[in-house]
Symmetry: C2
Subunit: 438 residues, 2 copies
């Protein structure tokens, strides 16, 4: 087996070749398509940067090259040397005329063709991830993660980490995964929020990006059993502060993706013009009670206090062009740690943010109860045992401060940005009730 | 309860106050110490940026202020207004003469004093994290994460994520956590390496920072059941490429921490001069066989093929001033996915990197088998079932390429940088066999 040298300086990526537009190049990648036409064999070569039409001309090529060109299969990895020519019939207007070919890894018969079931494509996910569609989505995803962190850096929010193994619930017991742990039991974290509230006392404004786990039985287009959860807690913050922070953050993130990934967004069929209102205009804002009053016109079963699910959110947001901030949910709809409005304890000082175009919730947010007595009251009201939350209550015993924070699923956020039909289209290895492999 | 406004523009952080050096300030934070001396009550105020001596003078203060100053306890949160004065007896050369005090959260009797057991401090971890020692270590930790990513950005390595729920083992079955999963069973990932090898075909050079889980029964100063794992896979890479990459990366990361966190390192007792050889000099490098030969002089029980554990690594590295790269371990010591040397199948094309000063392993690295037949052979040789690795083997069937990568525990790396006695001193919520709370 010939040893290849990764650091070889004269290897060009396809994007570099297309940029130069002429000359001789050495390159490497995988063949995506192969087609024979008269005396020519055409290939589409791809690497992580782009795709390039390549050709072997039987009338001009040496015998060994023709043999290799005949033998090589799609998805084989190759090293090529060739001459770039303009060709208006080629997808990018250029064609590489292959002079030398070295087949690095000859592929067996590739199982992925056209019109395959979702189930099959999930079974061969490790191969399907090579598709241009997944590649583009994963690049946008990388920018989403990065732009979130860049915003935190600008705002002096410090990165930290909670724990994955926990002894109790944040979001409620029904979606907890239990793990046998050296003869005892542990749970997988549903959220790092409580730990961020601990770490806030040490580091000030804090954030984390970490997996959260929910034993979700719902098979919707937006639920997963594990997801990458971006969470922020700000000490000394109130509802207006956190809403302002979130709106600026979303604008920054969307703007960054549009600037950096316009090519990928276009390839995925997302018109970036449709994201401009989010970047440029102030978000919509309504109180829960007014949102429900409107939604009743469409869904007669709704009443004040009804939860807004996927279907209702789709209806509420489908004609919107920019996100909607919904504030002041009724106290029955949110967990105990949310702070009630001191002037009206029936409503909560909280907000969700719904993405437009029928997408729905991307952020859950609000003030946290920071008074010990009130927190214990609310834990009991939710029929939970304050002893199970002893350390969380402790934070209110020793120098408590006002606080607000939010959580955002970065998978879901990415799905909105690329306008994906299903959350599985933007995450490398989606995990659902029926899927833990590959 | 008075409403505070987080965005209040005239609040100064302690570091800003110390920088200005004179004037009137509004600030907020927590009291760390309180001491009465003659007619004065002294406090040490802290926030996430620094600490500041504050004083209330009974002879000058209004009655309400004196009452609050008497009442206020350590770890209470306060808002203060005062006048900064030079005072050579104060820790930073300045003292804030308090004019107004608003007690935000009056703390109960704080359970943490001096000379407490490690076990107790772990029980009150949620409060112990406020200590200056933990605060400093966590700031360095944040820089370690950030500097790793900044290096990846410089090198065009794309961020991505594997899955936490997996159906099989990477590092061997004995340390797998099993999770009941909707009537079936799943495992928690031990490493994202195999998934990075998948994603490499899509995104080129890839990295992830994600939790990995090991059901470690060992109670050493460097083992945890969950740890934050930075992993990289480079397509078309060989052993020399990955070693070069790692050495440049470690230099960059250490340099970044020294530049950004000199204050924290100093406070933690780490002399940054001791990190300069790592930044400035080429690392030590030896083959495994020569390392073992040397180590035999001290440990007579060692022979060629012996594993190097914590004790041996401490001895090997204790007199070193910069990292040691150990290459070419014998094939019996490493899992099946490592590529054997084609010229000598008894040795592996791999390397570990050991941190100096007695610290030991921080990186495990090497080429991966990229030939299908060889991979299946090695899986069988390790007495594993190739069917359990079907999708991993598939990567070698469809356009395989040479590849190399590594894994680095960022917790452990941070422990070395700050010279921590124990890995728990650099991670917010360490998880071990006996510890999943708080």
């Amino acid at each position: 087996m010939k040893e290849l040298n990764y650091l070889e300086k004269d290897i060009s990526k396809i994007s570099q070749i297309l940029k130069k537009g002429k000359g001789s190049f050495k390159t490497r990648g995988w063949f995506k398509r192969k087609r024979e036409l008269k005396n020519k064999i055409f290939f589409i070569l791809f690497d992580e940067t782009s795709e390039l039409q390549c050709v072997v001309d039987r009338d001009k090529a040496l015998k060994d090259l023709i043999k290799d060109a005949e033998k090589v299969t799609i998805q084989s990895s190759v090293e090529l040397e060739g001459q770039l020519k303009k060709d208006e019939r080629a997808p990018d207007g250029f064609e590489l005329q292959i002079k030398k070919m070295h087949i690095v890894g000859l592929a067996q018969d590739f199982p992925i063709g056209k019109d395959l079931s979702t189930e099959f494509l999930m079974d061969v996910r490790h191969l399907w991830l090579r598709s241009a569609k997944m590649r583009d989505a994963l690049k946008v995803r990388a920018t989403v993660f990065d732009s979130f962190r860049k915003f935190m850096e600008k705002e002096n929010v410090v990165e930290t980490q909670g724990a994955m193994f926990v002894s109790g619930s944040v979001e409620g017991g029904s979606t907890l995964f239990e793990v046998p742990y050296f003869g005892k039991k542990a749970f997988l974290t549903q959220s790092s929020q409580f730990y961020l509230e601990v770490l806030m006392h040490s580091l000030g404004k804090v954030y984390t990006i970490a997996p959260s786990f929910r034993a979700e039985k719902s098979k919707t287009r937006r639920h997963l059993t594990e997801f990458w959860h971006a969470e922020v807690e700000l000490p000394w913050a109130h509802l207006e502060d956190i809403i302002d922070f979130e709106e600026r953050m979303i604008k920054f993130m969307v703007k960054t993706v549009v600037e950096k990934n316009s090519k990928e967004l276009k390839a995925l069929g997302r018109n970036t013009e449709d994201l401009m209102p989010t970047i440029e205009q102030k978000f919509h804002r309504k109180k829960y009670k007014d949102v429900v009053k409107d939604a009743m016109k469409k869904f007669s079963y709704l009443k004040h206090g009804s939860d807004l699910g996927e279907k209702e959110e789709r209806e509420i947001t489908k004609s919107l062009k920019k996100p909607l901030i919904i504030t002041h949910y009724p106290d029955s709809l949110k967990p105990f740690y949310h702070r009630r409005n001191p002037d009206n304890p029936k409503e909560i000082l909280c907000n969700d943010i719904l993405a437009p175009e029928g997408f729905g919730e991307i952020i859950g947010s609000g003030e946290r109860v920071w008074n010990e007595k009130k927190l214990v009251e609310q834990i009991k009201k939710d029929k939970l045992n304050p002893e199970d939350y002893q350390w969380y209550v402790d934070l209110r015993k020793f120098g408590s401060v006002p606080r607000a924070g939010f959580g955002m699923g970065l998978d879901r956020f990415t799905a909105w940005i690329v306008n994906a039909e299903h959350i599985r289209d933007v995450i490398p290895l989606p995990r659902t009730m029926n899927r833990i492999a590959p």
